[in-house]
Amino acid sequence: MRIAIVVFPGSNCDRDIFEAIKYVSKKSPKFIWHKETSIENFDLIVIPGGFTFGDYLRCGALASNSPVIRSIRDHASRGGAILGICNGFQILTETKLLPGTLIKNSVLKFLCHDLNVIAQDTLPSPFTWGFKPNTKLNIPIAHNEGNYYVNGNELKKLIFNGQIAFKYEENFNPNGSVENIAGVLSENGRILGMMPHPERSVFSHHNSLDGRLFFQNLIEQLLS
């Protein structure tokens, strides 16, 4: 299992993801600096959370023009798996590798707390297969721009294709996302963007261990 973590200036969850993956897979992932132009073959590329380039201009917009993005696109076109968490999700929508966009939380505040996300019935995907639909995962969020938006037609398409990976609980949608969406898959199911941080619920001192389940499942699915 070869896993890469892409680091941009302003990434700040790179170490957390590293520790989580290392713990679950018993193997250290490799850090890739955003200026690198050729990426060797990896089974999974992770784009961690943070404030790449200060999130100036628009969250993820500057990072989506970094030199490394071209290799990430190549990886995607080969059907490679990509996981974008929080700011990583924003970068994936900015690069159009995932549909939709992430705007300011409807409450106009940064929010950080634990919540439940619910696994959905999706198209085949290493990120969600292995979870029974409606499985609840207790995972924290920490973001200011997690309000997922797609227009009506695109939303219908997402639902029809089974591209909605995770939802917030009805009445506990923290940011105003359409359809309570917390995570979205690409059309081939190989790319996931999600706002919650599974890497923050992996270790016994964390409030929950559901993030550990998320990574365990992902690695099992990628290996199978």
Binding site: N12, C13, F51, G54, K109, F110, H113, R200
Partner: protein, 752 residues
């Protein structure tokens, strides 16, 4: 004041405009043997400002205990450092950004966070946690809401972006802060003991390096602004507020830590208050050398900046580094990777002077010893005032039921949950956060990768405290209590208290009463820190928190750090069902209680003047040691310090999370309701007597055994149940759901 001709001799008027007194200006002229030019005067004024020189408080700060076996670095460096074993050390400090936060709440608070983080990582430490202590005026007041919203966004804006978790602190409200809010930010970092960096410059001829962001016209003379009272015209001071850029802060953090892995650095210092001036002066004077800087080499953001502006700018995210000779290219490569400015701006010289050049002309030549050693130390007059008023049966309330009293206390803005505030901070980034002070009395952060096999690892515990009412009513006792409570919060979380950082926020020290608060509280802090073995290793003083002559309540904030040597020993504050609650530190013979200076008095008697609950520090220390012993013997299931609001509110706080109930066992003397007993009952339930802790246990027999052999008073409150009702027999029943509702919704209701 425009500074076009900064080489001209300075007049007395100009010097006074920069904040110097006539005597100080005369002293400067005499000592340096010439009339200084504007740039030189600006430098002297910044170094002599209250903010940099601590001239009013220095005399008293010197009396604080600052050493101990575990102290690696006491006050005088960028931050204090304590040894936590395993070749690791904790670097920490608290600093105020009060004045700028009132003028511009977002930027003021954000740069406060940025500044304190640089103080910590400049010593080689990776910051692992942020805390903040905030004071605002009356809640609901539109200005308070505007300031609070801005400050919280500013703290989050910096901390969230740079990726350091904000794990706790305090937010309180009182009308005395209406025009002078307090924003104190604390940072905690972790460093390997053999990789600590200091600021003393060394090596004649070694290059002086400027790294980080460019210098602009922001924050010019901020240190002087922060050393004066406000008037109604604070808007005009906006240019003195710095502007923060957390993204550059993050790059600077990573670049500096990367450079520190090499052996190229000799010394390093953050450009904080008074910018390039204080950093260059302090680095050179600490190293007993001189420094020469070519101002044309400074990376500038704006054109045509004068030498005065360059030296006094407080632009953020900048560092001054002394490198080994020949190390410039290797160091530059690192900063280039992080897209940061890197410039060789001067060199270390043997002559103990600060020499500045611009366009090949000398623009400043000042002796360093004079700037540092001859800065004034004042012996201001002071008067320590004590209030001795006692509440009696006539003054306490008789009309309200216990239920209505407790609901008002829990729904009081100074008691209710501050979730609305802390949810706006990223508290879980870095993955090591264990408690953000909502699950335990102290905030707890795991030492990264300290676990090994079966051993679950170590943690740092941090608490912040200040009860201004106590300090106002009795500065000495109040000072002691502040330290004792901070330590108690650590102990009930399973930690051993180690050391203190303090932030002394007061009004105008030229007033005898205010100076009395400063002197008195320092005396109290000194005594308590000595008795509890928690030396003061860093700190900050913020004076002149006054507007139009009206001073804030005295607010000497204590930030205390402790270590938990095994995270399995962590104690949380929430009781579980079917556990027995005990007061430790009090027995059934104590049925009266100190209502003076309490939250009860403040809410129901419209007043907080009164005698302060006495504290016996030896007893306090003995109690801490007892709790540590109980914990080592696994007798404690949960624990909570009895503080604001007294016994009943603290019991309820322990029951809230699991929505439990309890039948409270009243002492015999107050079991029968009658008018005579009312004072005793209220005192027992709401008095704020010191040195008391509530614990829950499943081993009451063992507890009683220990308390007997150690001669500690305990009192059994009762057993928790899952009724969700707190029963006070013959008096009242309290509904936990209603308490929870008030606890959670009070603050948000002010902002919806």
């Amino acid at each position: 004041m425009t500074k076009k001709n900064t080489n001209n001799e300075c007049t007395l008027n100009q010097a006074m405009e920069m904040g110097l007194t006539e005597e100080e200006f005369k002293l400067i002229c005499k000592k340096i043997g010439k009339t200084p030019n504007l740039t030189e005067t600006g430098i002297c004024s910044a170094m002599f400002s209250e903010h940099c020189s601590y001239k009013s408080s220095k005399k008293w700060l010197k009396t604080l205990p600052t050493s101990g076996d575990h102290v690696i670095q006491g006050p005088g460096e960028n931050a204090g450092i304590i040894d936590i074993g395993d070749n690791q050390a904790i670097v920490f400090k608290i600093e105020s950004h009060n004045h700028p936060s009132f003028i511009d709440p977002y930027q003021g608070a954000a740069t406060g966070v940025g500044g304190i983080l640089r103080d910590v990582f400049t010593m080689g430490a990776r910051p692992i946690a942020l805390m903040n202590v905030l004071r605002f005026g009356e809640i609901g007041n539109p200005l308070t809401n505007h300031l609070l919203t801005g400050v919280v966004k500013g703290i989050g804006g910096y901390g969230n972006c740079i990726g350091i978790p904000t794990v706790g602190g305090e937010t309180n409200f009182n009308q005395s802060y209406n025009s002078n809010i307090l924003v104190n930010a604390m940072a905690i970092g972790l460093v390997n003991k053999n990789k600590i960096f200091y600021s003393a410059a060394s090596g004649i001829g070694n290059p002086v390096i400027y790294v980080g962001a460019k210098t602009g016209r922001d924050g010019i003379h901020g240190a002087t602004m922060a050393s004066a009272e406000f008037s109604d015209d604070t808007e005009s001071q906006k240019p003195t507020v710095q502007v923060g850029d957390p993204f550059t802060g993050k790059l600077l953090l990573e670049a500096c830590l990367e450079l520190m892995k090499t052996d190229l650095i000799l010394s390093i210092q953050d450009m904080g208050a008074a910018g390039l001036t204080s950093s260059s002066v302090e680095m050179a004077s600490k190293g007993n050398v001189g420094i020469e800087i070519d101002l044309d080499k400074i990376p500038l953001r704006e054109k045509n900046m004068s030498s005065y502006e360059i030296m006094l700018s407080e632009s953020q995210e900048r560092m001054l580094i002394i490198l080994k000779k020949g190390a410039e290219d290797d160091a530059k490569t690192i900063f280039k990777k992080w897209d940061l400015d890197f410039a060789v701006i001067g060199k270390i010289i043997s002559d103990k002077k600060i020499i500045l050049k611009k366009e090949n002309k000398a623009v400043c030549n000042l002796p360093l010893d004079f700037l540092v050693n001859d800065s004034p130390e004042l012996s201001r007059e002071y008067k320590i005032k004590k209030t001795s008023k006692i509440l009696d049966n006539k003054t306490i309330i008789k009309t309200e039921s216990i239920k209505s009293i407790i609901y008002k206390i829990i729904g009081n803005e100074n008691f209710a949950s501050k979730k609305w505030v802390y949810e706006q901070y990223d508290s879980s980034v870095m993955g090591d956060t264990i408690s953000i002070g909502n699950k335990s009395d102290a905030s707890i952060v795991k030492i990264h990768n300290s676990d090994k096999g079966k051993f679950k690892g170590k943690a740092v515990a941090i608490s912040t405290d200040c009860n201004s009412k106590y300090i106002f009513n009795d500065p000495i006792e109040g000072g002691k209590i502040t330290v004792a409570e901070a330590a108690r919060n650590l102990v009930v979380s399973g930690a051993k208290p180690l050391a203190v950082t303090n932030n002394l926020n007061f009004g105008n020290p030229e007033k005898k009463e205010v100076m009395g608060q400063i002197v008195g509280s320092i005396k109290g802090i000194k005594e308590a820190c000595e008795e509890l073995y928690t030396p003061v290793v860093s700190g900050n003083v913020s004076l002149y928190n006054e507007t139009n002559g009206k001073s804030i309540l005295p607010t000497p904030v204590i930030g205390m750090v402790g270590v938990i040597d095994d995270i399995e020993k962590i104690i949380l504050m929430n009781a579980k069902n079917d556990e027995t609650l005990f007061i430790v530190g009090q027995d059934e013979n104590k049925f009266d209680g100190f209502l003076q200076s309490s939250l009860y008095q403040e809410i129901f008697c419209d007043d907080f003047l009164g005698q302060v609950p006495p504290i016996n520090l030896k007893k306090e220390k003995y109690l801490h040691d007892f709790i540590i012993k109980l914990n080592d013997n696994k007798i404690i299931n949960s624990a909570h310090d009895i503080s604001d609001g007294g016994l009943l509110p603290c019991i309820i706080e322990m029951l809230l999370l699991n929505k439990l109930g309890i039948n409270i066992n009243l002492p015999p003397r107050i079991q029968t309701p009658n008018k005579k007993n009312l004072l005793f009952l209220h005192g027992w339930l709401f008095g704020e007597d010191q040195s008391r802790i509530i614990i829950s246990t499943n081993k009451p027999d063992k507890l009683m055994e220990f308390s007997k052999s150690e001669n500690i008073k305990i009192y059994c409150i009762g057993k928790t149940n899952n009724t969700g009702v707190v029963e006070i027999p013959k008096y009242d029943s309290i509904c936990i759901n209603e308490c929870l509702n008030l606890y959670n919704n009070t603050i948000p209701n002010f902002f919806s």
